[in-house]
């Protein structure tokens, strides 16, 4: 097995699985074009082929050299220490990956599940909004309970969760909680500086983008978030 480790095999398998999936999906648009004999699928399939070759090349590199870096000086210069940090934090274990993956599923659950349930119940828009609020509350609870155990997984999830909630709850209502959440996950726990910095960042952003540049940010769809967002915009503009 040369210098191959389990991680290298998993990495290679992921790449080749991705190639297979993309190749399989390319049949969905494998149609001819009258003025272009290669059709719509030739270009992506060439990329997929090159990707598979590069993945195999990478696997051979690992087999021969293990984790050795290319002799290219610029490649070496690009090393920002992120690999080393991951290694030192023991964030390379299967358990850590599974825990992070579970946390990362939270935003996608919010984006999909309320619509599925509403569709199954044949519910109207009011019920859908209530459903969204209930599911959001449950998911926030799950997120908070898990965040302490995997802080890095939580910091990866929080912005995605914020983005998933943005359409319904609006930028104006969510931003203060998001600022506090990020600060907490970066190990800041002193309440007074947290509140002061939150007010400063929120105030500056509102002033620059809402008052000066008139950038329309999402106000939300659900009461009372929509009312709060609209009120902030009315006051500032």
């Amino acid at each position: 097995m040369g210098n191959l480790r389990t991680g290298h095999l998993v990495e290679g398998a992921l790449w080749l699985t991705l190639c297979l999936f993309l190749y399989h999906y390319s049949f969905e648009f494998d149609r001819s074009i009258e003025i272009y004999k290669f059709g719509a699928s030739a270009w992506p399939r060439t990329i997929i082929l090159l990707m598979a070759i590069a993945a195999i090349g990478q696997l051979l590199h690992h087999w021969k050299y293990g984790d050795a870096t290319s002799s290219n000086l610029i490649s070496a210069a690009m090393d920002d220490g992120s690999e080393e940090a991951a290694h030192e934090a023991h964030h390379e274990s299967l358990r850590w990956y599974l825990s992070t993956f579970a946390l990362l599923c939270i935003p996608f659950v919010y984006m999909r599940v309320p619509d599925w349930i509403a569709g199954w119940m044949n519910a109207g828009s009011t019920t859908l909004h209530i459903l969204r609020l209930v599911i959001a509350a449950i998911l926030i609870g799950v997120f908070i309970s898990q965040a302490r155990r995997n802080m890095v997984g939580a910091i990866l999830t929080l912005p995605l969760f914020f983005a998933a909630l943005l359409e319904d709850m609006g930028f104006y209502s969510l931003a203060p909680f998001f600022i506090l959440g990020v600060m907490y996950l970066f190990h800041e726990s002193r309440p007074k500086p947290m509140i002061a910095i939150m007010a400063l960042i929120y105030g500056l952003l509102m002033l620059l983008f809402v008052k000066v540049l008139f950038v329309g940010l999402p106000v939300g769809n659900i009461h009372p978030f929509y009312d709060i967002g609209s009120w902030v915009v009315t006051v500032l503009q």
Partner: protein, 505 residues
Amino acid sequence: MDAFSNFLTGTITLFSDPLGIAIFIGGVLGGMLFGAIPGVSMLTLAAILLPFTAHLSAEHGIMLFSVIYCTGVYGGAITAILFNIPGAPENAPTAFDGYPMTQKGQAGKAVGAAVMCSAIGGTVSCIIMMLATAAIADWAISAFGPPEIFALVFFGLAVAASVGAKTFWKGWLSILIGLMVAVVGLDPVGGIARYDFEMPYLLAGIHFIPTILGFFAVSEIFVQAEKKATGAFVAPKIGVEFPSLKELLAHKVAVVRSIFIGFFCGILPGIGATLAAFMGYNEAVRWSKKPEEFGKGKLEGVISSETANNAATGAAMIPLLALGLPGGALTAMMVGVFQMHDMEPGPLVFINSADLVWVVFAAMFFANLSIIFIGFLETKTIINLLRIPFQFLAPMILLLATVGAYAVRGLTIDVVVMFLAGVIGFFLRRSGYSVAGIVLGLILGKIGEQTFAQAMQMLHFEWSGFFHRPIALGLLVIGFATLAGSIYGAFFKTKPPPPTSETPA
């Protein structure tokens, strides 16, 4: 003399119009500021301003974007040096040595060198551009068809894949991810939907601004979060010490070399400043007597990269104006400004709107000069950003990125895409892949496929057609030679791993 009188006319037109002056000053300050604030870039500012240019004249709109381009490329160097967050892909090589210099307490010296060299590179590029525009435009129009542009894109990708990632293979995989992301949406010839997964959002393709923000700014926050969690996070040391004239003169060869590299890379459509910066840096390493010092905080690395990328800004306007081909993300937005005013960039602009061209050139010249004066003043203020603890800076960066991603199209899904790109970028970075490679693949992927299709139609689907076009053939040969050299290096020149206690599988 024609060029000089045209330049004078452009200067008089620019400075005799109060609105023009206000837009010029706003563009200079805005480009520098947005380039320098971590998490946002000149692209964010340009994206926010793009809808508003409909209310300006075409002359003012294009001038504003070109000024933002010049000063924003410089501004992006500040974040690359201070936070390891390149404001744009063209600032990525600046971070290679700039950030280690910051960690060694030499941030002031690195930023000072970036100010001087950005101004020198950009100003000289503008002068050459003004003197040679007509001849270069004529040459480019006659010599560069779709086969040449495709060959150029291939050459650019072959070079870019060889740098930036932990190994050559990871470099190529990074580029290929970018190319694959660029495939999503409608195909450029038949308009057939590809990899849309029946989601209407994906039909329009994945926008490059949220992707760039995600891969560069957001993933950097995540990496810093992990370092903080492990105690590996090191707050950069602060120091304000500009390089002396003697130090700069000691690097005069690097400056001149980078101006030439930057100008010739910038003039090549579709590649521009990014390749210029990488090649400027690469050549500095190759010509150096102490190449092992690069990547560890060598001033020459910053000088070479920053001179080259700013030297490309002036030249990048030529393919845009002469051929209608954007050299990068910001010049692509300029195409949007033209279209909003019912104009198409191309050879006719030089004939029908010569005034516009010369006002833009004059504005770019003065914008580059102003980097020296405003840049020095601004830098002293910006360096103080380092005093802000990262736990307070991180939410600010993430929210600015959110506004930037949302402002592009007013879609919350763009914000989701940005943060998703950040998560993917985080995992790829810690596995040794190159986020700069992904972004380059994304930007050049669309141009590459489109020009390949046009080239094949033009050559009646005969591959041998490339052999009858010397420029295309030359670029393809150099591209393949680069590739072959990198593959050879990957298999035979890699250093064997140090002995570890881990048991192989």
